[in-house]
Subunit: 372 residues, 2 copies
């Protein structure tokens, strides 16, 4: 294999919003982009063929989960994650940092790494920056993440300590990383504290990563605080590197992120909501189990062009939910992912044609009209 | 709508095996055919698009389930079952007879019909031949079934009584049926008793149905008894009408049925086994949760050309099962349905080319070699 190098080009700008292309060994990612999450090497309830039909160009998967089960060695032995999950297009893996702090039963952080118990069977494990990179090299995603410590957004002292560690770990991740066909992104942390965020962005920029993630947002802070962090970081991160806002996936947050220079988004929201009977639309969510839909012949969203909306009524979706049929989760996942893919595609087209201001204005006007 | 009439033509014969075409208002069904079951207006865990890709030409759905939930009026209001479940191809509905006897909590049979309690909420309902037809006319399937009484296969007295009732109900179903774009099939009953089966087949033939189902098999009788019934009935039913062996879906039973003149098969087996982690192959089942597959890079069945076998390893399927991912049921359902579709397609091709004897011999030789 002779992998193409990783590259990013910004092809159009309007205000802070950018449209671009990320080149990876497994194909291009047009930005801005939304990546659905395949936590356990599968985007829940949908096949890779369905993701392709949805126009998905990037899938995220979780190092923490795959490290625990089935294990990175097994995936490497079977040809790597692309082949294992049959997604021959770009993949991004996170570092496991967030999950160690949010999912594991107990954990002890020291300067060298984190010791934790598996959420599956309680077994003891230890992740270090070096191991997080080793695991991600075995998985073989196109974009991988530095191992970081996630702190609660409002705890100043915790964020100060965690940031120092995250920065030292970023250096170690860079040193440990050997695969030239993967791009390793640094992660800006610092909670809601703008001086910490500034320090973090500046330090990571000095390390010259090929891309930057903005972590620790969408975890309880206000929209105003999220936007302030994005605006600050946007002024520090280099224009010619992609920016990835981790774990963000409502239509509102995505448009707000694009307005503030973000290129890449990921979130479990569309597939998780689908399993809880909720359909996403640009101006709110519909609880498809609601009896009001029992005889409703219209599609979930008349504006949507996805497989689900082209072919199935709200009444049918509700029937599947009430009858506890798995197809409900599949059809709702397809619709919800499609809602976000169509949104970023339209945003991209608007940036390319210089109409993003109008697009964003129309989008927010719709929000204000809606009672949802 | 100007529905085409229902018609059947036998295009080739070899021994008792037949290849033919059933014409319906929603398209043609090449026979012999296997129909996957969409009990609640969905073949569990697969989309209609996936069924089309599998080459499925006929889907079965259950009158009993749809009558209880969401109700036939609702489906009729939404344009009928084809539109409701987005299956614009042929559909067959059973009459509800079998489910009333196998699923409902308590039931009382009288000469007019059956009173039973719903398996969902215990509510009281009553199905009569007339109502079973009315419900099936509302659902709007291309092939519908007469309402029958199912008796335990070895209870002679019960079978004698039930058969009389089934025959009287068959007459009432014919009288009640008004839609000219549906074919109503009569159901041959009689348990394992050949004289009762003979009587049943002769009586139903005298009513001149456009097709005949063979019911009450694959419910505990021996293979020899099943074959004896099929051979007897094959000699009585008219050559120019399709024969449908209800609820039969193992590869062995299908080939044995084709050898004895059967044209149509249906069964929940492929999708039910899929949800219990079992992969069907022509010569046995694989429990895909077995640890022996943990690092197995080969497809479920190297001979199989389905989406699952073209793209995914046994190791990946096992990972999905262990991780409790819904995609496991989807990928296994696709494979299992495909196994039976490929089997009937090859059988059909063999009949058309005069090589069905060799095909059947090779098939049974494979069975004998296998230890499964």
């Amino acid at each position: 294999m002779n992998p193409k190098p990783f590259a990013f080009e910004v092809t159009a700008r309007q205000g802070r919003a950018r449209a671009g292309i990320i080149h990876t060994p497994h194909g291009i990612i047009p930005t801005p982009i939304f990546a659905p999450v395949g936590t356990q090497a599968t985007v829940k309830a949908v096949t890779p063929a369905q993701l392709e039909e949805l126009g998905v160009s990037l899938v995220l998967s979780n190092t923490y989960h795959l490290y625990l089960r089935p294990g990175a060695e097994l995936i490497a032995e079977l040809g790597g994650l692309h082949r294992f999950m049959h997604w021959p297009h770009p993949i991004l893996t996170d570092s496991g940092g967030f999950q160690v702090f949010s999912l594991s039963e107990t954990r002890q952080v020291d300067d060298d790494g984190v010791t934790f118990r598996s959420h599956i069977d309680g077994s003891r494990h230890r992740l270090t920056p070096e191991l997080a990179i080793e695991v991600q090299e075995k998985l073989g995603a196109d974009i991988i993440m530095a191992f970081d410590e996630c702190a609660p957004p409002y705890d100043r002292a915790y964020n100060e300590r965690a940031l120092e560690r995250t920065h030292r770990w970023a250096v170690r991740c860079l040193e440990a990383h050997t695969r030239t066909d993967q791009a390793l992104f640094g992660i800006v942390q610092g909670g809601v504290f703008l001086d910490l965020r500034e320090k973090s962005a500046q330090f990571l920029v000095s390390l010259d990563f090929p891309g930057y993630a903005i972590g620790g947002l969408s975890v309880g802070e206000t929209k105003g605080e999220m936007h302030a962090v994005l605006e600050l970081v946007d002024g520090i991160l280099p224009e010619d590197k992609p920016r990835y806002l981790m774990g963000v996936g409502t239509p509102q947050d995505i448009v707000n992120g694009i307005l503030r220079g973000v290129d890449v988004f990921d979130c479990v929201l569309p597939t998780r909501l689908a399993r809880h009977h909720a359909a996403m639309t640009r101006n709110g969510r519909l609880n498809m189990m609601n009896a009001v839909y029992a005889r409703d012949p219209s599609p979930i969203d008349p504006q949507c062009s996805c497989y689900t909306c082209r072919n199935f009524s709200r009444a049918y979706i509700r029937h599947l939910i009430v009858a506890r049929e798995m197809l409900a989760a599949t059809l709702l996942s397809i619709h919800n992912i499609s809602t976000l893919i169509q949104l970023v595609n339209e945003a991209r087209d608007a940036i390319l044609t210089g109409t993003f201001d109008q697009f964003a204005a129309a989008f927010f006007a719709l929000q204000n009209q809606s009672n949802v």
